[in-house]
Amino acid sequence: MEQFKILTDLRDYIKEIESQKGKILSRPIPEGANPVFYRSCDVAEGTELIHGIQIGDYFFSNCKKWVLPHDQMGLSFSAHWQHLKGIYKLKSKKNEGKSVDVYWVLEDADRPSGLKFVADNDDSRHYFLTVTEKMTVESLVKKLKWVADHMSVIKDGTRAIK
């Protein structure tokens, strides 16, 4: 497991992985949080969560038992260093005193069927983990859990030098 002590270490490490293995997609996650599921304390009051999935992140059926395909909805991932840096700084500022680890996955890595990474039409440095076929919420939960279990992590060691 790799660790970064300053942000440029993180940048260099990501560059190294990409030169060896291909494009990576990443999510900075504060200590105690899950890389793909939300807890009620992670979101604004009134935000509806179903098994840790935010209603607004995916395209739910009216009865909220199904998730429908949409190529511009899904969990957000950064596909470029500049993008990741912005999100990382935001997460650090919103979680003072906590470490913020970077979870990542290769764009071309195996994934459960029905899930696909798609670039945001408004910014190619940002990707969605989209749903490509109608599935139950329980099925999406299982697939996202699989993705989380297969993500690698770069640990935040920035506090070690503060």
Partner: protein, 96 residues
């Protein structure tokens, strides 16, 4: 046009622009367009001020603004990049 994903993003920005008495940000957001580099620098600075002030507001209200601020930063990064002001965004973000 600023590519908001959900209307709550614009609402949040205007709420904080009002809280910070930032008329130029209100003007840019209502106009839905950056006109020059100075405005780009101003709006990028505003974003990070909003993050700072939101921590105090969250403490007062018990709410959590992290998720909506993430949606806003994704929107802003897309817009600054597509409108040619990526350098201004990065310059301010690097100071954070």
């Amino acid at each position: 046009m600023i590519p908001y994903k959900i209307p709550e993003e614009k609402k949040m920005i205007l709420k904080y622009a009002d809280l910070l008495s930032d008329n130029l940000t209100v003007e840019i957001i209502n106009r839905d367009e950056l006109r020059n580099k100075d405005e780009a620098t101003h709006l990028a600075n505003f974003y990070w001020k909003m993050v700072e002030v939101s921590n105090e507001e969250d403490k007062k209200t018990g709410d959590n603004s992290e998720n909506i601020l993430e949606k806003i930063i994704i929107t802003f990064m897309a817009y600054f990049s597509s409108s040619g002001y990526e350098h201004e965004w990065d310059e301010i973000t690097d100071k954070q």
